[in-house]
Point group: C2
Chain length 370, copies 2
């Protein structure tokens, strides 16, 4: 047990009630749509929070790397999609994982496919990555020539079982409000429909996997999709709030940071908390301009609503500069803890490497990547 | 020993020769100026690299946090300045450190001073932080009233020994070229002269500590300063190169990242290497616009010059998008390792948590902050 009152360094707080409510709500949406929820675990990166998902009966997950898949396989997860272009240099890890779990890998080039055909020692499921219009990775939905050759290649392999198509509309993060998200979502559904219609006759059990936090939070139907893979929704953050994916009160993490200096002459306080805690992710807040975090009111071990006109305006490696109203600054004292909502919870959690729940329980996260 | 040929995941490479040359050159500048070099260790965060400094006879360091001071005290460093506003909530760590090493702390408020007077169990040295015009923390140089009361407070304490003034011109990072750096430097020297002249009679052994990487790299005289505290120079990076602090060939770290996908139709390759490896720090490159890294030519276990028109144009959590010329893209293969100079080596090293030298030696870094 960690006494939450004794925080003395930047500490990532997790409000378990909010987190469970976020999981419950996404789980309900999946059930209502008769669709599988395969949560992406890159945001929380912790066995403990993973188990909260398991309590809802969820038994399939996505990760963003093979080492993250290993980390969760070590806690009993046995159906994992690595939602990242397969890194052939990690073939050893791939074979270790394929030997013990149902491993789903993304394949989007003949070169990767040929390598896997030669080097795989155990069966895996192959998803073809389709470009949803984000233009980061994936095959174009209408490029049947390439799709056919990838599918044929898998068919002719001993260890690769073609199971379907996977997409990620990362550009939903640049959208704002329900109308723009709808547009991104319909673009994705159109593209998935294209491949679905083309291959459903030959592969009637085809899987169609899509869904990021904005579309999964705001949309209510998922067309031909058989599963959704949102991740960030487990915590949400200020970017998601700005997009419209969540309300501020759904954000389940806050960084607790001590005040170390006060400069009332320029309405600023300096906190111990910088880029190595929050990350350098920034967003353009309509009211404040460039914003690295929003200070919320304290409420027992948790927090309540944002404090008007108080935000993280600058950060360097370990310093943060909080801009605040006169009233706020007057109440600041050196040694007081401020609670601050992060801009991008995935990056903040990845940096912090452990969390403390508002119930004062320490939650370990994946620590080692190398 | 780590076989550098077997890199399969994002790996931070450290060219020891370049690093030693950077240390040697700064050490020489300090000697020529008859000034103490107290390197800031927040960039490399490793016992091993710290020992390379020790080989030059350096025996005083700065850190950006108390836990980093603990980490280096554990490797025998016994004169450490924590160049960060003293976080009173960490009084337990302060007393532990003060019991065994010469601990130098920054004091810039009566509130912090009064707390320390009550709670310190062992002697420390107190530096007053002076604002060099960066406007982040520190007392104004001409605010003698506050300075007098801080000095008097230390005089009247049992365990705080007033030793001098410390400043950090963080705004040198926004400067470009020698003329702008000179301006920042002279502003700092003017401010330090103000306090020096005011207090030198009463305190003839006063310490004046200043110096960031841009000013220490480009300037050749340091006025009344008795020590300089640059940190980043040990590795340098693209921001320092743009400022003019270093030449590209002095940058001593590069991130080695595997290619996982190729999109020649848009002159892009996708690497395993994103915000959790590079950090989200970005800079405006004159040629490329927003730039997260520059790809260099491979050269054995190290690297040589940048490849024309090849740079990291976008990053997400684990993906990086490399934009490249036709010629470059043609030579790319899935599974090939690209070596990429980071924008901000402090943030990249902090994220990577370990390095591999071009001599294939694995270098551990500070891992735990909580």
């Amino acid at each position: 047990m960690t006494d939450i009152q004794k925080i003395c360094r930047p500490t990532l707080l997790l409000d378990k009630d909010r987190c469970l409510a976020n999981i419950k709500s996404m789980h309900k949406k999946a059930i209502n749509n008769n669709i599988e929820l395969r949560p992406h675990f890159k945001t929380h990166q912790s066995h403990e929070v993973g188990r909260w998902f398991r309590d809802f009966g969820i038994n399939k997950i996505a990760t963003s790397s093979l080492y993250m898949a290993e980390y969760f396989a070590n806690d009993g997860w046995d159906d994992i999609t690595v939602a990242f272009p397969t890194n052939i240099l990690e073939i050893k890890t791939i074979n270790t994982l394929a030997a013990k779990i149902k491993l789903n890998l993304l394949i989007q080039s003949i070169s990767t496919l040929e390598f896997l055909k030669k080097e795989l020692r155990y069966p895996i499921n192959g998803f073809i990555k389709i470009d949803m219009g984000y233009n980061r990775t994936g095959i174009q939905a209408e490029d049947f020539k390439t799709l056919d050759s990838l599918i044929l290649g898998m068919k002719n392999s001993n260890n690769i079982n073609f199971v379907g198509f996977l997409g990620h509309s990362g550009h939903s993060y640049n959208a704002k409000g329900i109308d723009e998200i709808k547009e991104v979502h319909h673009e994705a559904l159109d593209k998935m429909n294209t491949v679905y219609n083309q291959y459903i006759k030959e592969y009637p059990n085809i899987s169609i996997s899509l869904g990021d936090t904005p579309t999964c939070s705001l949309m209510n139907s998922f067309g031909c999709a058989t599963e959704i893979r949102p991740g960030n929704f487990v915590f949400y953050d200020l970017v998601q709030e700005q997009i419209g994916s969540c309300r501020t009160e759904q954000i389940a993490v806050a960084l607790a940071c001590p005040i170390v200096a006060i400069h009332s002459e320029r309405n600023e306080v300096i906190i111990f908390g910088g880029g190595i805690h929050f990350s350098k992710d920034v967003y353009l807040n309509e009211q404040y301009g460039n914003c690295y975090g929003i200070v919320v009111n304290d409420k027992g071990n948790s927090w309540s609503e944002p404090i008007d006109n108080v935000y993280l305006s600058k950060i360097s490696q370990e310093h943060g500069v909080i801009k605040g109203s006169d009233v706020f600054i007057k109440e600041c004292k050196i040694g007081k803890i401020l609670k601050i909502l992060p801009v991008h919870s995935c990056m903040t959690a990845d940096l912090m490497k452990c969390m403390v729940t508002t119930g004062a329980k320490r939650i370990e996260m994946m620590r080692y990547r190398n």
